[in-house]
């Protein structure tokens, strides 16, 4: 196992602020280990940990236009996977396959399998609503609801009935805001509108909103694209901390960011997955010349 940053199987040991119950929620229903040796064998350098998400032969069509071509990706649990690639290559599209947000786009059609803990998310049996409670998403542009800061974070716990009472809900909100390192800035103004925060604060607010329901996977679509370096550093720290508990997928246009925060990287180009591997491998010794060119900034 080779990672650029810390080893995900050996968390730094800093105490978690999230209530225990959250972890319990999912630990119950979700078997931790779904080792698929065959799939992992395909990538010699894949981590030997758990595999959280496996995509097989994903094709996505927007009307007649095909956006993804036979994409296969393995995403390990409790680690950060980065998706890189030139604009329009289908990174966001692929992200939306994992939590079935493509369902909400009229005319979009997805074929292939996305296995979450071995279960196909496109299966008839799977309700996209419950799926999305397990797979949280942070969008490229922060989109806080026009509600108070508190209500923004309380949104998920409320609709999924995660809090037993008011005190419980307050506890969840506080814990989530603390984990998103926003608590100190907003603890005195929880009743003010979330839309009144700065861009970076809004981005952390929507991250807090996403982690409040303790999802198993968090998808982040260019979460730092609108942020200054300081806010970016804080979000990166946050991601690094969150990976001890969640499976995180991040789309980024910054090679440096991918190198800093991720353990695995996948490179997309023109709707195809070109190369996947450990971040260190990808950045030091890419197999495909296109990856090499992209990483060194020769195109894209």
């Amino acid at each position: 196992m080779s990672y650029i940053s810390k080893d995900p199987s050996n968390p730094s040991g800093s105490p978690m602020t999230t209530p225990e119950r959250h972890q319990g929620d999912h630990a119950d229903g979700v078997p931790e280990i779904r080792l698929r040796t065959a799939a992992i064998g395909a990538h010699a350098d894949a981590p030997t940990g758990t595999l959280k998400v496996q995509a097989k032969k994903i094709n996505v069509f927007y009307g007649a236009k095909q956006a993804l071509f036979d994409v296969d990706v393995d995403i390990p649990g409790k680690a950060v996977t980065a998706f890189i690639g030139p604009s329009g290559c289908g990174k966001s599209t692929f992200l939306r396959c994992i939590n079935r947000m493509n369902d909400t786009i009229p005319g979009a059609k997805v074929t292939g399998e996305v296995l979450l803990d071995g279960e196909d998310v496109n299966d008839r049996q799977i309700d996209p609503v419950t799926l999305r409670a397990r797979v949280g998403m942070v969008f490229q542009k922060p989109n806080p609801f026009p509600k108070s800061i508190f209500e923004n974070v309380a949104y998920g716990p409320r609709i999924h009935g995660l809090a037993a009472g008011k005190a419980d809900l307050e506890e969840i909100v506080e814990a989530s805001l603390k984990r998103a390192s926003l608590w100190e800035e907003v603890k005195d103004r929880l009743n003010q509108p979330g839309t009144g925060l700065s861009g970076g604060q809004q981005q952390r607010l929507v991250i807090a909103r996403a982690i409040a329901v303790a999802p198993e996977v968090i998808l982040m679509d260019e979460p730092c694209s609108a942020l200054d370096p300081i806010a970016t550093a804080r979000i990166e720290e946050l991601i690094d901390e969150l990976r001890q508990q969640f499976c995180i997928v991040i789309v980024t246009h910054s090679m440096a960011q991918a190198a800093r925060v991720s353990q695995r990287t996948s490179f997309f180009h023109l709707g195809k997955l070109v190369e996947s591997g450990s971040t260190e491998e990808m950045f030091t010794n890419p197999k495909d010349s296109r990856t090499q060119d992209y990483i060194t900034g020769r195109f894209g």
Partner: protein, 480 residues
């Protein structure tokens, strides 16, 4: 006819001036070094405007005010005393002269003897004045056109700032148009205010606004009754609001829910059919709704209630049965319900726009949290759209209050202070219509009352609209 021909000539002259101006500008810039300040088209437009505009303004002024000037000229020359036209009849006399001179075959009053001679002379005089005035106006217009051209044309040169001049003139024209719109509205409000003041001199505003007795017919006969409060407008406003509330009870839920359905649930094909259908409904003239209410819904409701009453008579609800048995066609419920139907497309298309304006990112955010469609609508979209929806409802209310045709046809004339939807009520607008229809003289409180009612109605709808627009503005700011 002459004026029309001159207008055509002006158009032709302007077109010629445009071509000449453009050509001159082209020639001026052809040999010279550097870029000209303005494109040749602006030079042409500048000359054309100077040629056509002042003359056209003169002609329009002549058409608008020429009649008055002629009238003044004719009346400066009074008929001889022998004609026997008394001072009171003078205005009619001159009016007759002018209309006969303008081509009407006979005068309203038959003049004989000395009066006839004087009248004919006056007509001939008026005709010659008119012809002369028209010729003068036409000549003045042509002179203005040529003068304008001669003034503007020599100014053209490579560095002449024709574009700025033309744009200045264009914006002046736009300003004049908006001023006309504003002034007209202001004029209407002023006349409303003026006539209302006259009304309030006869009837105290307090007894008008807070009186509970409305009976303008009696007031016309004797003066004292007026002071006893026969002009109390409370029952009218109560009736107006009762009908408005019934209408909103129909239009608000149906309109809002259909908007939600259209914006969030309906597929593309459904939307493509239902939206235009609703818009067609919005285009149905209110008079059609009016006779629909009066001829179809009214009798239907009455027979329904009467039949229900017949069932109840003799039972434990005997009194209610007796009451239902004698319900009339003109109940507030009928007018309100039909008005509500009229307002449905209004409410739904406004709300639909507002719901669609809620950013898609908010929906995505909510769906990505694992919210269902209805949770997303209830907890994110509607709260976000609420101010706009409230504004839409306020606008619908002010339409309901001002609506006239449906209530004229379907509501009653009896001013009753009641909250019973099965009772006959009348509304402010219905009363204005009845006060002003037929032969009316604008010197008694009965007709002037219409202005008092109009002013009050205007104030109410104005306030509603201002509140609604304020809310919409706030709402827009939220997403800009």
């Amino acid at each position: 006819m002459l004026i029309l021909m001159v207008l055509l000539a002006l158009a032709a002259l302007s077109a010629g001036a445009y071509a000449m101006g453009r050509r001159k500008a082209r020639q001026a810039t052809a040999g010279a070094a550097g870029r000209p300040h303005s494109l040749p088209g602006y030079h042409g437009a500048y000359v054309a405007l100077w040629t056509g505009l002042p003359a056209a303004i003169l002609l329009f002024a002549f058409v608008a005010f020429g009649g008055r000037i002629e009238y003044a000229l004719i009346s400066a020359d009074p008929p001889p005393a022998s004609a026997g036209i008394t001072a009171e009849r003078m205005a009619t006399y001159y009016g007759d002269v002018q209309s006969v001179a303008n081509g009407q075959s006979t005068s309203a009053v038959v003049y004989e003897g000395a009066a006839k001679t004087a009248f004919d002379a006056a007509v001939a005089h008026a005709r010659s004045t008119d012809t002369l005035a028209r010729l003068l106006a036409a000549a003045a217009a042509l002179v203005l056109a040529i003068g304008g051209f001669l003034l503007a044309f020599p100014k053209l040169s490579k560095d002449f700032r024709a574009r700025n001049r033309v744009e200045g003139l264009t914006s002046a024209v736009l300003i004049v148009c908006s001023v006309v719109a504003v002034m007209t509205t202001l004029g209407i409000v002023m006349s409303l205010l003026y006539e209302s003041l006259r009304f309030f001199q006869a009837v105290s505003p307090l007894s008008f606004l807070f009186g509970t007795d409305w009976d303008p017919q009696i007031a016309m006969r004797t003066d004292q009754v007026m002071t006893h409060g026969a002009f109390g407008a409370i029952p009218l406003f109560a009736g107006t609001f009762l009908i408005m509330i019934i209408a909103m009870a129909v239009a608000a839920p149906v309109g809002l829910y259909s908007a939600i359905y259209l914006a969030e649930y309906a597929g593309r094909t459904t939307r493509a059919v239902v939206k235009p259908a609703l818009e067609i409904l919005a285009g149905v003239p209110t008079v059609v709704y009016g006779f629909f209410a009066a001829l179809t819904v009214g009798p239907l409701f009455r027979s329904g209630f009467n039949a229900l009453g017949a069932q109840l008579v003799g039972g434990p609800l005997n009194d209610l049965g007796l009451y239902l048995g004698q319900v009339q066609n003109q109940m507030a419920l009928v007018a309100g319900a039909v008005m509500g139907i009229m307002l449905i497309p209004f409410v739904s298309s406004l709300s639909d726009d507002i719901i669609n304006a809620v950013p898609q990112a908010l929906r995505d955010g909510s769906y990505a949290m694992g919210a269902t469609k209805s949770e997303t609508i209830k907890r994110v979209i509607l709260p976000a759209a609420l101010p706009g929806v409230v504004a839409a409802l306020l606008l619908a209310m002010s339409r309901a209050i001002g609506e006239t045709m449906i209530v004229t046809l379907a509501a009653g004339l009896q001013a009753k202070l009641t909250a019973n939807p099965l009772d006959t009520v009348t509304t402010v607008t219905v009363q204005i219509v009845t006060l002003l229809t037929g032969d009316t003289e604008f010197d008694n409180p009965k007709t002037l009352a219409a202005f008092g009612l109009g002013l009050t109605l205007f104030a109410i709808t104005l306030v509603l609209n201002i509140i609604a627009l304020r809310i919409v503005q706030k709402y827009r700011e939220q997403y800009d």
